[in-house]
């Protein structure tokens, strides 16, 4: 095969070894700077492996031990790393990892639910931690986590939805806070939260789906806002939203598929934000997740609402009415 042929396929074995090797990068100086994302990174790595059908590539027991070592006893949530304070971002990742590894029995569900609910603000939005930064990302995380834990009934749904409503813009999209610009990643968190709450009637679907389809650029990649550059992670933010709203076919899937594949590193494995850039586990995960929604052959179905393997969500009875493209045969 020539390089060109290789680049036209998802290099599963190479990506699996890339994710496995992340744990061995002992001399990587940049590593300490990402400690605040370590729990998320494990969730990204694990989910990408699940979607590629290699869940067992990472040791289950070690992973669960790591997750539990990040428990913040004082706050009742998880930090991103053993010595970090609890944050809602790492708390959701911890829950997702434990569920994926079928180890939810290790979790003090009541305390986590209490921690999450304590972060809701009078406006309905959620803070990420006691520092108080607010963002629709944190709102989605809270809704997602409560739903996964079967405790959505304890959420003040009206107040939550009314904040999302305040973030809706004239272009049909949603921003990070009330008044902020529409951004595809914020569209995903708002749409997915509304899907979980069965409140998709709050979305101006016609305008939003049009805006989302406009995110595709001539090279096939998707951007997050008009007149910005394409980036592999938007494959997930845009596709998941369109999939939830049942309009995923509005994206040219062939062009997007080749764009994602062209961002693979053919030597080290992993996927970058765009061709030629450095790969990382975040873009590897969202690239693979996008390909799964596009029906790429051989991949496992991903639930776009929860961003977890679809079979797990179905088994919990939480599947919503999303539609991905049919899985193609190789």
């Amino acid at each position: 095969m020539t390089d060109l042929d290789i680049g036209n396929k998802l290099l599963v074995p190479l990506h699996v070894s890339y994710i496995k090797a992340l744990g061995d990068s002992k001399d990587d100086l940049a590593y300490h700077l990402t400690a605040h994302l370590r729990m998320n990174a494990i969730y990204w790595g694990l989910t990408a492996l699940c979607i590629m059908g290699h869940k067992d590539a990472l040791d289950r027991e070690e992973m669960i031990d790591f997750v539990m070592s990040c428990w913040d006893e004082q706050a009742g949530g998880f930090g991103a790393h053993p010595d970090h304070d609890a944050h809602i971002l790492s708390t959701l990742s911890a829950i997702q990892i434990l569920i994926t590894q079928d180890a939810l029995d290790r979790l003090d569900v009541d305390r986590v639910v209490k921690f999450i609910l304590s972060l809701q603000q009078p406006s309905g939005v959620f803070a990420g931690d006691s520092f108080g930064e607010t963002d629709t990302r944190f709102l989605y995380i809270a809704v997602n986590a409560l739903s996964l834990l079967g405790r959505l009934s304890e959420l003040d749904v009206e107040r939550t939805v009314s904040y999302i409503r305040q973030c809706r813009n004239f272009d049909g999209g949603f921003g990070a806070t009330a008044g902020a610009e529409s951004h595809a990643a914020q569209v995903f968190v708002c749409v997915a939260a509304l899907a979980i709450l069965d409140r998709l009637d709050e979305v101006d679907q016609q305008t939003l789906c049009w805006w989302l389809s406009e995110r595709q650029l001539p090279n096939g990649g998707l951007n997050g806002r008009p007149e910005k550059l394409e980036d592999v992670c938007y494959s997930f933010w845009v596709l998941s939203s369109l999939s939830i709203l049942n309009k995923i076919s509005w994206i040219d899937s062939e062009k997007l598929t080749s764009f994602i594949l062209s961002a693979q590193d053919l030597e080290t494995g992993g996927i970058a934000d765009r061709p030629g850039d450095m790969v990382d586990v975040f873009h590897t995960h969202f690239g693979v997740a996008g390909l799964s929604l596009l029906g790429y052959p051989g991949l496992v179905d991903l639930d776009p609402v929860y961003c977890m393997p679809a079979s797990i969500i179905e088994a919990k009875g939480l599947r919503k009415g999303w539609k991905a493209l049919p899985r193609r045969s190789a």
């Binding site: 931690d129 272009d171 389809s213 007149e227």
Partner: protein
């Protein structure tokens, strides 16, 4: 910072017991710190444990933040310490002027600033600071949302008074800055009615004139077309009222030569700049929507335009245009 001694070597820190970080061999999560970072964070864990809040904590947390601006616990503890010490927050803000620009994409930088300004209750200098930061990264999401927060949170007429001027300067610099277009909509339509803007019909006219001029300078600018649609939707103005403006943009250059000779003095409807790439997809789309809302015989004209988008001008979104055709025809029956 390289020249500074480690905290372990500073006599004034000798009374603090540094706490080593969790040491275990954990695959997927090893962290190999520089000596400086390990040293500072060991002392940080030490003071968090004793609950110390003193001026030297400010030195320590600044040191950590400069090494790793995403260390949210360091930010949080720093803020608590500032408040506890009743430290001069304007001094802190000046430090933040430097750090925000250095770490423009870090969430914590902006949140810390929000907390400080909520204490000082002095938002005016912030607008200038934001304008300066935007010179470095004109589309930075955090910076723009911080500006929107300052305006809405303090909601002071003096703060709002020069916003349009500000947006115009940003758009003069880059006509395709979607953040600036969004901000304009936020200022004009989403944040209440300010003095001088009570005549809403006049405001809509002003905005239409503004956006038309910008479209004529750069017709293939999605942000400007979105803004135009936003203004029309918001004021419930029918799209068809803009047909004479949009038509020249929806056809190839050659065919609008005729239009030019007839409408040469029409200042309400500026023509596309001579070098513009035409027809413009957004204009065809706009015309189709205008026809569709008229209904009746115009519906066929809409479907013809959508067909031309699907087959010729915007083939990537073929599925979308075909959906529009199908929907429109279904509604007829």
């Amino acid at each position: 910072m390289e020249d500074e001694p480690l905290f372990a070597d500073r006599p004034e820190w000798a009374d603090v017991v540094p706490l080593e970080q969790y040491e275990g061999v954990i695959p997927l999560a090893p962290i190999f710190y520089t000596n400086e970072y390990k040293d500072a964070t060991n002392y940080f864990r030490g003071i968090v444990k004793t609950g110390e809040m003193s001026p030297r904590v400010l030195d320590l947390t600044e040191n950590i933040i400069r090494q790793n601006p995403a260390h949210y616990s360091a930010w949080q503890y720093r803020y608590k310490t500032l408040i506890f010490l009743n430290a001069p927050l304007d001094v802190e803000l000046r430090l933040m002027d430097e750090l925000a620009v250095k770490y423009l994409k870090t969430y914590q930088v902006w949140h810390h600033r929000r907390l400080l300004v909520q204490q000082t209750k002095n938002p005016a200098p912030e607008l200038e600071f934001i304008a300066d930061s935007l010179q470095i990264d004109t589309k930075n999401y955090h910076t723009w949302s911080y500006r929107q927060w300052i305006l809405a949170h303090f909601n002071d007429d003096a703060l709002w008074s020069r916003e349009l001027e500000f947006v115009e300067s940003m758009l003069n610099y880059d006509l395709r800055n979607n953040s600036a277009w969004h901000h304009r909509f936020f200022v004009v339509f989403q944040s209440g009615v300010r003095k001088g803007d009570e005549d809403r019909a006049e405001v809509v006219r002003r905005e239409l004139t503004f956006v038309k001029t910008k479209i004529s300078t750069a017709p293939n600018n999605a942000s400007a077309w979105n803004y135009l649609r936003g203004v029309l939707d918001h004021s419930k103005t029918p799209y068809s009222s803009l047909k004479s403006f949009v038509t020249p943009y929806s056809v190839p250059h050659s065919s609008h030569q005729d239009v030019t000779s007839e409408d040469i003095v029409d200042l309400e409807n500026p023509l596309p700049s001579p070098g513009a790439q035409l027809p413009c997809v957004a204009a065809i789309e706009f015309m189709a929507d205008a026809h569709e809302s008229n209904g009746g015989d115009d519906l066929m004209r809409a479907t013809e335009l959508w067909r031309s988008l699907a087959d010729e001008h915007d083939t990537m979104r073929k599925k979308y245009w075909e959906y529009r055709i199908k929907e429109a025809l279904q509604n007829v029956r």
